[in-house]
Amino acid sequence: MTRQVLIIEDEPNIVEAISFILSRDGWAVATHADGKTAVDAVLNAVPDVLVLDVMLPGRSGYDILQELRGHDLTRRLPVLMLTARGQRTDREQAARLGVNCFMTKPFSNADVIRSLNELVPG
């Protein structure tokens, strides 16, 4: 069965590149760019794994994840978090919210694919 990934990221060229490599790896990819409506987008079609950027227009990735952790459907949803900031405080905040994998930009395509395959084995 095809694994579903939702990418919440507002940089179109990053989204396009990640979408391409994941599609080629066999994932069904959906994307969303707006922070304010991100929670609805996830709850409308809960994916197998979420790729979530921290700095989004309208709402931060941390806020979005905190709300998602309050819903039964997404309480245990595997999350790969992408951020330009990789300091200890950021990692600690991500860990508190139950982020499964924390990746700082710029990342390699291979790392993204490997991490998602570990979170949702095919």
Binding site: E11, I14, E16, I21, A84, T89, F107
Partner: protein
């Protein structure tokens, strides 16, 4: 908390420092006069061998012997026992304390300075350079953390680099890519390359402006702060106006506003105008000459100066901080904040870094005074560092405007910051010395109840 009672008593040692480096000075003076060592020794009644030991800083000359030597060398005894080496020795001791694990022989600093003055000066200069660089790192870190313009620029760069890296990985990583996708990725690369180039240029220009610490202002208050930092907050053009007509003072202020190159925007000019007006009022009420004389008479005590001039404490504190430092007048820092805690005025002194952006340490007496309006607070605080430094802080919070029934009062707190030298000053306090910092971001005190965010100095980058 009750205020500290601080008695300033200059120690005998500080007033008449004794240094074994006196030997080097004796030798220099003797050679200058062409006096033979044996002849000088005989003249003062000691052996040439003993004088040789003194001259090489291996023995300390007693007070009477120094007087005899000074008489023979036709100079003042103090010229043989005091000098620039006091500062040098202080710097060497501080440098030694920087890395105690290496167990430097700090008790032999005088030997080092006497026998190898060049090397000693080099160590002291490098210690000072390290300290300057540490302060610069703190300022830059402060800026990196809180400056929205810089954060946005960096985010732009990282986003572009991420897109390019990922796209390049696809194009060069093997695997079939049809022509349409190839074209799309090439177009994306071109767009991101242009974006990166623009962001990098902006970033370089921005950082260039801050290369010499004269950082580009980003808010109106900063434009004024850049100017005030350059003139050390002393506005010579607004001095000597006591007795001048109000119109003349206003004209002088407008001229100054127009002359300040860093104050360009209308918002910045308004901020500058208010500051200059306040400065002129303080200067008229406490003319420079009379104030400096009273400052010496009253040992710089703000409370007694306020009583002498009939002026509120904040005005006196500003005057103490903004008049130029000199031989008898130490450099004094000052900060002020409004009721929200936002810093309005910042004048640092070495060792007491005032954050350029964001909030400062809530343990500063400045913030304690906000909860006790009208009650002056005096406390000795200690700033962290390789060599912790102490400062006497005196703060007071008063309403900025006359009190009214129809509006809540607007408070402003002011804090004077004076270096507090344990070596020269004896203190009597009835409270603990407050452990404070600059801002959480650059403060290494990990066990602090007031901590808002992790310290960069203690951060684990991994």
């Amino acid at each position: 908390m009750r205020p500290h009672v601080v008695a300033l008593v200059y120690s005998k040692e500080a007033a008449m420092p004794q240094s074994r480096l006196a030997g080097s000075r004796i030798r220099e003076r003797r050679l200058f006069l062409g006096y033979k060592q044996s002849a000088l020794a005989k003249a003062v009644g000691i052996s040439a061998a003993y004088l040789n030991l003194i001259e090489h800083n291996r023995r300390r000359a007693g007070a009477q012997l120094v007087r005899d030597l000074a008489r023979e060398l036709k100079t003042d005894p103090r010229a043989l026992t005091e000098g620039a080496e006091v500062a040098l020795l202080g710097a060497l001791r501080e440098a030694g304390q920087r890395m105690p694990d290496l167990a430097p022989e700090t008790h032999r600093s005088e030997d080092l300075a006497g026998r190898f003055p060049g090397w000693a000066s080099l160590v002291a200069a490098q210690h000072q350079r390290i300290r300057d660089l540490e302060q610069l790192v703190e300022a830059l870190s402060d800026r990196l953390t809180h400056d929205p313009e810089l954060a946005a620029s960096l985010h732009e760069v990282i986003s572009a680099v991420t897109a390019i890296r990922s796209t390049v990985g696809i194009l060069t990583g093997g695997g079939e890519i049809d022509a349409d996708w190839q074209q799309r990725f090439m177009r994306n690369m071109r767009d991101e390359g242009l974006r990166l180039s623009g962001a990098a240029q902006g970033l370089v220009g921005y950082l260039d402006a801050g290369a010499d610490q004269d950082m580009a202002p980003v808010v109106p208050g900063e434009e004024l702060a850049a100017f005030l930092d350059r003139c050390d907050h002393h506005l010579d053009k607004l001095e000597g106006l006591d007795g001048a007509a109000r119109d003349d003072i206003s004209a002088r202020i407008e001229t100054l506003v127009a002359q300040v190159a860093s104050v360009q925007t209308e918002a910045a000019k308004d901020v500058a105008r208010r500051h200059f007006q306040q400065y002129a009022e303080d200067a008229c009420a406490m003319p420079q000459g009379a104030f400096q004389a009273a400052r010496r008479d009253l040992s710089g005590d703000p409370g007694r100066l306020a009583a002498r001039f009939g002026q509120p404490l904040p005005s006196v504190m500003r005057r103490l901080a903004f008049l130029p430092a000199g031989r008898d007048v130490p450099a004094v820092g000052l900060v002020s904040c409004d009721g929200s805690g936002a810093l309005i005025l910042r004048k640092s002194v070495p060792g007491f870094a005032v954050p350029r952006f964001g909030a400062a340490c809530p343990y500063w007496p400045l913030y304690q005074s906000l909860s006790r309006p009208g009650h002056p607070i005096r406390a000795v605080v200690e700033m962290p560092g390789t060599t912790p430094r102490r400062f006497l802080c005196q703060a007071v919070c008063l309403p900025r405007e006359p009190l009214r029934f129809d509006k809540p009062p607007v408070f402003e707190a002011v804090m004077l910051i004076e270096p507090f030298d344990d070596a020269q000053v004896t203190t009597t306090t009835d409270g603990p010395i407050l452990a404070v910092g600059s801002s959480c971001r650059v403060c290494p005190r990990t066990e602090c109840a007031a901590r808002r965010e992790a310290s960069l100095l203690a951060a684990d980058p991994g």
